[in-house]
């Protein structure tokens, strides 16, 4: 019984010593407490889970202040930026990230729209330029054919007015 007790005590002491050593190592790994700037660098990439369109680093609510303190504690615990962001996503949903998780979907639509627009414009240029090339080739010039220059736009009223003025001359 006493032998068993001693054995148990030895094991307990060993575990305690290991824990103490691990604890010391952890504390030394933590270094100084995270600064406000380190906290804000991560908070800036997150949005307040309750307010609309407010980044977490500048949100003035008490809840957000506490979430910033949570980031500080997690940093002090040695958590990485990715782990902290993942924690917030797990607890509050993907809306806390300042970018959609599926980046492809978010960029694909505008890029595709731009490419389609550029293609249509290119095709348009090809279509518009063709007949003129023939004209200019015939004329041997490169300028705007006189016949295509739009006259100073005037409507019927002005045309009538000018006609009358001419008659009165």
């Amino acid at each position: 019984m006493s032998k068993n007790f001693l054995h148990k005590a030895q094991n307990t002491l060993l575990i305690a010593a290991l824990l103490a050593l691990f604890g010391t190592l952890t504390v030394s790994a933590q270094g100084p407490a995270p600064t406000d700037d380190e906290v804000n660098a991560i908070a800036k990439q997150l949005f307040c889970p309750v307010c609309e369109s407010t980044p977490l680093d500048v949100c003035p609510t008490e809840a957000c202040r506490q979430w910033r303190e949570l980031i500080r504690e997690m940093l002090a615990d040695g958590k990485s930026e990715a782990e902290i962001k993942q924690y917030f996503v797990e607890h509050f949903g993907a809306q806390v990230l300042n970018e959609p998780p599926n980046k492809f979907a978010s960029y694909a639509v505008p890029v595709a729209a731009f490419l389609i627009g550029a293609f249509l414009l290119f095709r348009g240029f090809q279509m518009w330029l063709k007949p003129v090339k023939a004209d200019t080739a015939l004329e041997g010039g490169s300028g705007l054919p006189e016949s295509e220059a739009k006259p100073i736009p005037q409507d019927d009223y002005i045309a009538r007015l000018e006609e009358e003025v001419k008659k009165q001359k």
């Binding site: 978010s106 960029y107 729209a113 550029a118 348009g124 240029f125 001359k169």
Partner: protein, 687 residues
């Protein structure tokens, strides 16, 4: 009683607006000028009626009629009178009424003009404006009544338009007061400016639809509404700039633009409006892209309504909030119906809108303007997608997401850079035809100087590639524009014998739209300097310091001297103001007073930064937290925002440019008429 009177006048306004719509349609159908004239007069009557309605609401706001729900929600006894008046647009119901009132003012102005030459447009302009106005008045009447009063019933206290049975009027002692963030002068002016911009764009749209309906699809509708579009653009731009300045001064995050959906809602019509202003010039000069111009103004109108819908329907907070809101689905239906009708009309008139000429060169000014339109539309798609993607995601996958600044900055950055490049090239290209050779000859001198400036910046200011590209483009655009200006003035100097200043003045006066546009280009580049500075070089730090301790950032040192806190009971505010001394490289610059105002009624606080502004940068200090009765000290957040004041400087020049561009030029038609009269008089004298 007064509230009910206001509601009654609102009902009459609604009926009169509806009458004008039906009278105009029926008058046109029956070819009855007297009915159309009656519609016009009815439209004119809406403005005094809505002014009276607004007057009643202002009376209630100023005289603390807290039995009226809207008054209770947006004012309080401690608010000064001017804020009580401006609280009119501080809440949903009031702002919708404000929209209708502005709309009626603009429509009245339009209907007051002489219509002799454009008689066929009149009924349809009345119809389009009248339908839009009726929709907004209807919103007020049926869903967001600003005159609803609080009644106590057995079920509790609630707003009602008419007194329910067995109820008594409930009058709270005081109101909730306006959101403190909306009490800033910038926010007092910002919404009216945006609304003015929104509403002014309805007029060109009304003329465009009138042109489509009547089949008079020549340039007339563009010429009639050119100035409207420019003024609309001025108001919208001014509204956006004021919003940016308000955010910078009040929101306490060291920035001016957060790519918030509400900001984007106002930015989208600005984008299509800007594309339209460029594109109409192609139609005027070359008779091309008539379909495109129609589409742009239809889009601008739809985006104006969409912007109002985004901010008023609750759709931004959640699609479920939208579904539950009374006005959300109605707005959505209205946008859908107007868009479908407009596009259907455009398709119906497709053949009569064919271009009169064809494109002759890919480097001609019209081709470059078309590229400019492609870029504006691409930015629009980025913005539109960024706003609706979270809604689509929530609707289809149930996952709420946020599309924040990184997406917009990455997606729009290259597009804005391309736009800047176009701004540098397009003024040098000619209508009809330009070649690489002609453009190269015109651009090489400004380009070489821009390269020299960029190299100098590389050695003295930054090695950041994005910044250097941006600064090169800024330098190129400014130099090209100034060069163009100088060439014009120089030519005048030689031909007219004017001194250089007179030549500049006369040059601008002779072609206000062109040279106003050049000033706008230069102002945009000044704004670009500010944007590049703050986006690429902003630095920040936050720290807690005791009295006498300091924080360092860039070349600045901020030393905490003292803090004081006091209540201003009449205003219902607690002020906490810190005093900090600021030094640059050890040289004392002065003291700043970052403060935090806490409003008792709304339990909201406002962070007012202490700012030290120079053209080089802006030292921006926020008081974040403090310990009033201990030596623990206070927490400050400090930003150094390089070059940001160029943004505000550019904004001022921008307004000057638009005013010049929009200022009434001598109407060529009137000149023709006057010339005609002169000829007549001379002929008579000769006879």
């Amino acid at each position: 009683m007064i509230a009910q009177f206001g509601f009654g006048v609102l009902v009459v306004s609604f009926l009169v607006a509806l009458y004008s719509v039906f009278a105009a349609i029926y008058g046109e159908y029956k070819k009855s000028p007297s009915l159309v004239e009656s519609a016009r007069r009815a439209m004119l009557l809406t403005w005094p009626l809505l002014t009276l309605t607004a007057g009643v609401l202002i009376y209630l706001l100023v005289n603390n009629h807290y039995e009226v729900q809207f008054v209770y929600e947006v004012t309080s006894r401690s608010m000064p009178t001017y804020l009580k008046v401006t609280a009119w647009w501080g809440g949903q119901a009031g702002s919708l009424l404000f929209w209708s009132w502005l709309m009626s003012a603009f429509t009245s102005l339009v209907t007051l003009r002489k219509w002799d030459r454009d008689r066929e447009f009149l009924p349809w302009v009345i119809v389009v404006s009248g339908v839009t106005m009726s929709f907004f008045i209807g919103m007020n009447l049926f869903f967001e009544n600003p005159f609803a009063q609080l009644y106590q019933t057995f079920e509790g206290i609630g707003p009602h338009t008419f007194q329910p049975a067995d109820s008594i009027l409930f009058t709270p002692q005081d109101g909730q007061g306006l959101n403190p963030l909306l009490r800033h002068p910038g926010m007092v002016i910002h919404p009216p400016m945006l609304y003015l911009g929104f509403v002014s764009f309805v007029i060109p749209y009304a003329f465009a639809l009138a042109a489509l309906i009547t089949g008079r699809t020549d340039d007339r509708w563009i010429r009639l509404t050119r100035r409207w579009a420019l003024w609309a653009w001025l108001f919208l731009s001014f509204g956006l700039v004021l919003g940016g300045r308000w955010a910078y001064d009040v929101l306490g995050w060291g920035g001016y633009w957060g790519w918030d959906p509400v900001e984007i809602a106002a930015f989208m019509p600005w984008l299509t409006g800007t594309a339209f202003l460029h594109s109409v010039m192609i139609q005027e000069k070359r008779g091309m892209f008539k379909h495109w111009n129609m589409l742009l103004i239809i889009l601008t109108y739809s985006l104006v309504i969409f912007g109002t819908f985004l901010t008023r329907s609750g759709v931004l907070s959640s699609v479920h909030a939208f579904a539950e809101s009374a006005i959300g689905p109605l707005f959505f239906t209205f946008i859908g119906l107007t868009l479908i009708t407009s596009v259907a009309l455009l398709i119906y008139r497709w053949d009569s809108l064919r271009s009169e000429t064809t494109m002759t060169s890919m480097l001609s000014r019209e081709a470059l303007f078309l590229l400019n339109n492609l870029l504006f539309m691409s930015i629009l798609i980025v913005c539109f997608w960024g706003v609706i993607y979270p809604l689509i995601s929530e609707l289809f996958s149930g996952q709420k997401i946020t599309v924040g600044p990184p997406f917009y900055e990455r997606a729009t950055g290259p597009l804005f850079a391309a736009l800047m490049l176009l701004m540098g090239i397009a003024p040098l290209s000619a209508w009809g035809h330009s070649t690489v050779k002609t453009l190269g000859r015109a651009i090489w001198k400004p380009a070489v100087i821009a390269v020299i400036i960029t190299v100098a910046l590389f050695f003295t200011y930054t090695k950041n590639a994005i910044a250097l590209t941006g600064f090169f483009l800024v330098a190129l655009v400014i130099l090209v524009t100034v060069y163009e200006y100088w060439r014009g003035a120089n030519a005048r100097q030689k031909s007219q014998g004017e001194n250089i200043f007179t030549a500049f003045w006369n040059l601008t006066g002779r072609n206000r739209r062109r040279y106003g546009g050049y000033i706008i280009h230069i102002s945009m580049m000044l704004m670009a300097i500010g944007i590049l500075g703050i986006e690429l070089f902003q630095v920040e730090t936050q720290g807690r310091v005791a009295v006498g301790e300091s924080l360092n950032l860039a070349n600045y040192t901020v030393e905490y001297r003292e803090i004081a806190s006091w209540d201003d009971s009449p205003k219902g505010v607690n002020f906490t103001r810190a005093v900090v001394d600021i030094y640059e490289n050890g040289v004392y610059l002065g003291e700043l007073h970052p403060r935090k105002d806490f409003y008792f009624e709304s339990q909201q606080s406002m962070t007012i930064p202490g700012q030290y502004a120079t053209l080089r940068d802006d030292l921006y200090i926020l008081l974040i937290d403090w310990e009033p009765a201990s030596v623990e000290g206070a927490t400050f957040k400090i930003y150094v925002n390089p070059l940001v004041n160029w943004l505000w400087l550019g904004s001022l020049l921008f307004l000057v440019g638009i005013v010049i561009a929009a200022w009434a030029e001598k109407d060529p038609e009137r000149v023709t008429v006057r010339a005609g009269r002169r000829i007549q008089q001379t002929s008579a004298a000769d006879d």
